[in-house]
Each structure stands twice: as structure tokens, then as C-alpha cells.
């Protein structure tokens, strides 16, 4: 399946991970899945979920209940899962990431036999290289702009493998990466409210209006 990721869906997971650099974080990817000649997934939004105890299920269940209504309202479906690990050498995707991504895949397939799902994993060591490149100059040169800091995986059989047909909006010329750096400099990652943060204080808005 071909995967197209909007700029926002690229930035959000990274901002989320960088707000909680010592924890694993995860979230859901929303968008549309079309099956004209070949399957194609359009990821439009990334919804941040948890930054603690990712293997406990009740708050995930609760999040999906709330998301159901949001998806219906906006005409979006669940098309993927994102995950970031806290340690730089952790093999990606971790067992927890795989399990949660599989759960989402199974849930999507329940209502749509041909549904497709993708997984976006933050690649910490590539992110580090990207950070070095971004700190060194205002914009990225051609070799550096292939660095995105994320890997996009799709499911083939029981395994998740790197997608050869994944494109991130604005990444080819490095403009999305530069935007990431600018948003970090402004501290925008600190303003991000995930499901966990919303549960701690429900006056904090979680979903976009």
C-alpha cells in the first residue's frame, strides 16, 4: 500500500516524543484509505495518546470510544498507529508497539475486510542525525533532507515492514524538518496535550476543534 503522510501527521508524533523524551509515547493516525487500483493510505492527522504505561488497556479503550465520535464528525477513519521509544538503541518496533499496532489492524479489519493500516515509528538515531544537520545550518541540503527521523511500516502477513512507497509532505526539500526545528525552538512541543495529559486535567483540550 502507498502511504502519504501530511505535514501535521509527521510533526505531531515528533513533538509528542520530544515533550516526553524519557518515556515511550504513542498515538493514533487518522485519515482516509482508498482502494482504487492499489491501496493507498492518506494520513491526515496524528492524535497523541499516552506517555506512560502503554501496555495498560483501559485508557486506550476509553480514548477509542471518544475518538469514534470525533472520527464520525470529521469523516476520518483510523488508518494507523505511531510509537516512539525512549532509548536510542531500542529495536524498532518494540513488542508493545507491535502488539498495539496489531490490535488496531484487527479492529480496522473487523469493520472493513480490505482496510489498510500503517505504523509510524520514531527512529531515534536518525532523529539525532537530523538534529545535528538542522543545528548546523538554516536549511537542509539534498543528502540531509532524506533524513526524517521516522520510519513508516505497513503490514505484510504477520510482520510490519518498512514501506517503500511512503511519502511525507514537505520532507523531500527539507521544509517539514525545518518547520519541526522552528516549532521546537518556540517550545510548541510543550503545549501539546495528549490523552494522558487531558485525563490529568480535563480542562486541557485534547482533540482539535
Amino acid at each position: 500500500a502507498e502511504v502519504k503522510i501530511s505535514q501535521e501527521a509527521y510533526l505531531k508524533p515528533l513533538l509528542h516524543a520530544l515533550k516526553y523524551p524519557a518515556s515511550a509515547v504513542n498515538g493514533v493516525l487518522l485519515g482516509k484509505c482508498t482502494k482504487k487500483d492499489s491501496a493507498s493510505i492518506q494520513v491526515e492527522e496524528a492524535i497523541p495518546l499516552l506517555h506512560a504505561h502503554l501496555s495498560l488497556s483501559p485508557m486506550m479503550d476509553a480514548a477509542f470510544c471518544v475518538l469514534d465520535e470525533y472520527c464520525q464528525r470529521k469523516g476520518l477513519s483510523i488508518v494507523g498507529y505511531y510509537h516512539a521509544n525512549p532509548t536510542i538503541d531500542q529495536p524498532a518496533p518494540s513488542p508493545i508497539a507491535k502488539r498495539l499496532a496489531d490490535r488496531i489492524y484487527d479492529t480496522v479489519r473487523e469493520s472493513d475486510k480490505n482496510g489498510e493500516v500503517c505504523m509510524l515509528i520514531v527512529d531515534n538515531s536518525e532523529l539525532e542525525q537530523l538534529a545535528q544537520a538542522l543545528n548546523a545550518s538554516r536549511s537542509l541540503d539534498e543528502s540531509s533532507s532524506r533524513l526524517t527521523g521516522v520510519s513508516v511500516l505497513t503490514k505484510s502477513g504477520p510482520n510490519w515492514t518498512k514501506s517503500a512507497r511512503a511519502r511525507i509532505e514537505g520532507a523531500d526539500d527539507g521544509s517539514s524538518q525545518v518547520l519541526l526545528r522552528n516549532q521546537l525552538a518556540e517550545g510548541r512541543h510543550l503545549d501539546l496535550i495528549d490523552w494522558d495529559a487531558h485525563l490529568d486535567d480535563t480542562s486541557r483540550p485534547w482533540l482539535p476543534a
Binding site: S55, S57, P58, M59, A62, N85, D89, S125, H198
Partner: protein
């Protein structure tokens, strides 16, 4: 000092005040005290404030200058600013040459060096990282030699094993933490960490045992009952989960969204015809 009365929620106000008057030393001092008192992890703030406060506010710090230097050292490590950390270590070593606490900080710096930067030459980087890792373990062993009940050194070993990021690493961290808990069975934070480790290994049943210890050690903390309820729910034991969610709500009925959601989910799962436990 009034600083002892600061609560975590004061941080939002203080940060805003700091942004408005970034050179106000009393605000800076309050922020650092609050972060130390409640062990809040904000290395960005510490590095913005700490060095400046040391330069311009040495007089008003008095004895807390030692705490501030340690705070800066640790924050620098968090941001991988090893040079800044090394600087603080040097000062602390000169003033407290025989201190085990300072030795522990030295070991932490080696821990931070034990992460190879993927951008440098891979072979020498990997070798240096290995050496630093070993040096950190050596220093902790030296500390434990002098003080066999040094909780700090024992806990750092657990952290080192956990940060390997592998199943084996986390399993070894569990073993090391068990050794610590034999000596300090009432350390509720350690039991929380144990639960965290088991959850990382996706062994929810074992996490539940650890969380039960946490509830026993902190029975009026609404969050303990809440976490145990979440583990029980994950294991499919909805009726027991519901009891702990209810207990959590009784202890904290006003700002407890998780327990409220949890209660609804359990009640739904327990409805006849749903196959709930």
C-alpha cells in the same frame, strides 16, 4: 523558608513570572527550589536558570549552592551537555573529595558517556561507550563496597540495565531491583518502578503484584488504587478492577477522570451478555 510551601502547581505561575522578569533572582531561586523539592524533571529550566543564578546570586543561595550545583549537573546530563556536567563535578569534587554522593554523580556522568553517538566513528565510539559503561558500574561497586546499603548506587544499577532497552536488560533490571527491595521493602517508589519494569516486559500479572504492594504501602493515595485497577482491567478482571476504581474515586472524587472512565468501562464490560469476568 517559604520555599518549602511550594507545590507543583505553582510552577506554571512561577514560569510565567520568570518569562516576564528573567533576571529576577528570587523567582529563579524559587523555581529551582520547587524543582528540587518535588523532584520535577525540567532540565531546560534548570540550565536556563542555574548557571545564571550561580553567577549573579551566589550570596543569596548560602548553603543551597551545593544542591544547585548538583541540580545543574544532573540537568546537564539530561540534555547531554557533558562539558557543563563535568564542570560542576570538578567543583563538587574539590569541595567534597571523599563524598560518596559526589562519587555517584561522577558515575552518572560515565553513564551518560556510555551512549555512543551515532554520528561519530562507529568503532571507537562503541568502544568508548563500553568503557564508560564499565567505569560507571565500577564506581557504583566501589560505593557499595564502602556503604553496602547505598540505595542510590543500587538504584542507578537498575536504571543502567533498564536503559539498555532490550528484554534481557529489563529482565536483569528486575533482578537487580529485587535485590534492592530485599533491603528496602517499604520503598514505595521502588515498587512503582518494579511495576513499570514488568509492564515494559508486558508481564501484567507480575506488575499487578508490585502494584498491590504499592497500594499496601500508600493506601490513601488515590493514584495507587487507580494503577492497580488499570492492571486488573488489562488482565480482564473487571469486577475487582471496578472495586479499585470505586476506591480511587472515593479517595479523590473531583479530579479523577481516569477512575470515572474506568468505572464506566468496567460496568459496561460486566453487563450480562457481554461475557465480562
Amino acid at each position: 523558608m517559604a520555599d518549602q510551601n511550594l507545590v507543583p502547581s505553582d510552577l506554571v505561575e512561577l514560569e510565567a513570572a520568570f518569562r516576564k522578569s528573567p533576571t529576577d533572582l528570587s523567582i529563579q531561586q524559587k523555581i529551582l527550589s520547587l524543582l528540587r523539592l518535588h523532584r520535577i524533571r525540567r532540565p531546560d529550566l534548570v540550565m536556563k536558570i542555574g548557571p545564571y543564578l550561580l553567577k549573579k546570586g551566589r550570596g543569596r543561595l548560602g548553603n543551597s549552592v551545593y544542591d544547585v550545583r548538583e541540580q545543574i549537573l544532573i540537568a546537564a546530563l539530561d540534555l547531554h551537555r557533558l562539558g557543563d556536567a563535568q564542570q560542576e563535578l570538578k567543583w563538587l569534587q574539590e569541595n567534597f573529595p571523599k563524598s560518596l554522593r559526589v562519587k555517584g554523580l561522577e558515575a552518572m556522568i560515565h553513564e551518560a558517556r556510555a551512549v555512543p553517538h551515532h554520528t561519530s566513528n562507529t568503532d571507537t565510539a562503541a568502544q568508548n561507550a563500553e568503557n564508560s559503561y564499565r567505569k560507571a558500574l565500577e564506581l557504583y561497586a566501589e560505593i557499595l563496597n564502602e556503604d553496602p546499603c547505598n540505595g542510590f548506587a543500587m538504584k542507578r544499577k537498575v536504571c543502567m540495565l533498564r536503559s539498555k532497552g532490550t528484554q534481557e536488560g529489563t529482565n536483569e533490571a528486575v533482578r537487580a531491583l529485587n535485590e534492592y527491595l530485599v533491603l528496602f521493602p517499604t520503598d514505595v517508589e521502588a515498587w512503582r518502578e518494579m511495576a513499570d519494569l514488568y509492564l515494559e516486559l508486558q508481564q501484567v500479572e507480575l506488575a499487578r503484584f508490585a502494584l498491590e504492594e504499592v497500594v499496601m504501602l500508600s493506601p490513601i493515595n488515590y493514584a495507587s488504587h487507580l494503577k492497580l485497577a488499570e492492571a486488573l482491567y488489562t488482565l480482564g478482571d473487571f469486577s475487582t478492577a471496578r472495586r479499585y476504581y470505586s476506591q480511587s474515586l472515593e479517595l479523590n472524587p473531583d479530579h479523577n477522570a481516569r477512575a470515572a472512565y474506568g468505572l464506566v468501562l468496567c460496568a459496561t464490560a460486566l453487563q450480562p451478555g457481554r461475557g465480562g469476568g
